[in-house]
């Protein structure tokens, strides 16, 4: 065989060998820090308790509530339709798939904001989208919906609407009694079907 072909063949083999030898880099796609920063500054990642409550009552199918508190706290009381995912199991494969679910808004809440912020940051770093935080968490929800939070000063008509909405919501969750009954059982057994996205190519193909 001619010399130049030998050289070319060796070159090719070395090239292919390079593929095998090169170290495997970490395959996780992480969001660009700049993108992350602008996502943090986005105000729209927060949902108010009123917005969330509205969607719960309406039975909005695009709503997916994630309760980040411990299992005991979840059992005591949680928002209806929410799933309990503690922060330590947040990054498990199954939960990550849950978060990648298309067509659903994932709303995180904990007792206050600190835990939900951390979880939100983690999810966003993994390039997951449609993740929101219910501002104020469970505490805010309790203070707003369950206990009557009076509006300071003279209430405007929008405020009045809000107050009557909250009153209705209170009745929805707790019943017409005045006593705060913590026995609103969340539907814990709602198993969400993870629609595994088929590895379908973004482009068409076929001959």
């Amino acid at each position: 065989m001619e010399r130049k072909y030998t050289i070319l063949a060796i070159l090719l083999i070395v090239l292919a060998l390079g593929l095998v030898i090169l170290p495997r880099t970490n395959e996780q796609k992480e969001t660009n820090p700049k993108v992350l920063l602008s996502a943090i500054a986005e105000k729209s990642r927060y949902l108010t308790v009123d917005q969330v409550t509205h969607r719960i009552i309406e039975n909005d199918p695009t709503l997916l509530l994630i309760d980040l508190r411990t299992a005991d706290q979840y059992k005591t009381f949680a928002l209806p339709g929410s799933l309990n995912i503690t922060t330590d199991s947040l990054l498990s494969q199954a939960n990550l798939e849950l978060f990648s679910q298309p067509g659903k808004d994932k709303v995180l809440y904990a007792n206050a904001d600190l835990t939900s912020e951390k979880a939100w940051l983690l999810c966003t770093r993994f390039s997951l989208n449609r993740i929101y935080i219910m501002k104020g968490g469970m505490n805010e929800w309790y203070n707003t919906i369950v206990k009557e939070k009076s509006v300071t000063g003279t209430p405007s008509s929008a405020d009045l609407d809000l107050l009557s909405f909250r009153k209705a919501a209170r009745q929805f969750f707790i019943g017409s009694g005045e006593t705060v009954n913590a026995s609103v059982n969340p539907t814990i057994n709602e198993k969400i079907q993870v629609i595994r996205k088929e590895p379908k190519a973004a482009s068409g193909g076929g001959c």
Partner: protein, 175 residues
């Protein structure tokens, strides 16, 4: 570059040709996310033509209805455009290397009529097979191999393996 002159024609060194083809293939995946192909264009054209002539037939046909009729646009297809490019590119090469010639290429041992009959039959059979295998040597085999597709390799092995045997059977036509 090794020159192979037979009918006075200059052919590129096959390895160089392979590298050029490989580059085109690579770019095809990089730009459009898919490999090259050819039989798909035939399929689209057939579907579109039948749709124009007899749309009800397309609607009834379990196969064609996947590609034509309704709001399918079979002719607005990546492959159709690619095939146009292939014709242009081959023509260009023919001009550059002085290979433009209207003729039927056949072994001196057979007539050109026999060659054309076999070409027609060969094309017919090939067209049939390409639909079944969802691709041809360019689309399924070549592009499939580039992305290490199992189906692509299987089709490639099936085509070349069978062709070895079949060529021997039909050897009178060739040597």
């Amino acid at each position: 570059m090794k020159k192979i002159k037979f009918d006075g024609s200059f052919y590129l060194n096959p390895y160089l040709g392979g590298v050029i083809l490989g580059t085109v293939l690579l770019l095809s995946f990089y730009i459009s996310g898919r490999g090259l192909g050819a039989s798909g264009a035939v399929k689209s054209t057939v579907a579109a033509t039948v749709n124009i002539i007899a749309p009800e037939h397309v609607a009834k046909s379990a196969y064609l209805s996947q590609f034509a009729g309704g709001d399918h646009q079979p002719m607005n297809n990546w492959l159709i455009f690619e095939v146009l490019g292939v014709l242009a590119g081959a023509f260009l090469s023919g001009i550059i290397f002085n290979r433009l010639k209207l003729k039927v290429e056949h072994s001196p041992k057979i007539t050109s009529r026999r060659r054309l009959i076999f070409a027609l039959l060969g094309g017919l059979i090939f067209g049939f097979g390409s639909q079944l295998a969802r691709g041809c040597t360019s689309g399924a085999a070549l592009s499939g191999m580039a992305v290490l597709s199992f189906g692509g390799y299987i089709t490639m092995i099936a085509i070349f393996g069978t062709a070895f045997v079949a060529a021997w059977i039909f050897r009178k036509n060739w040597i």
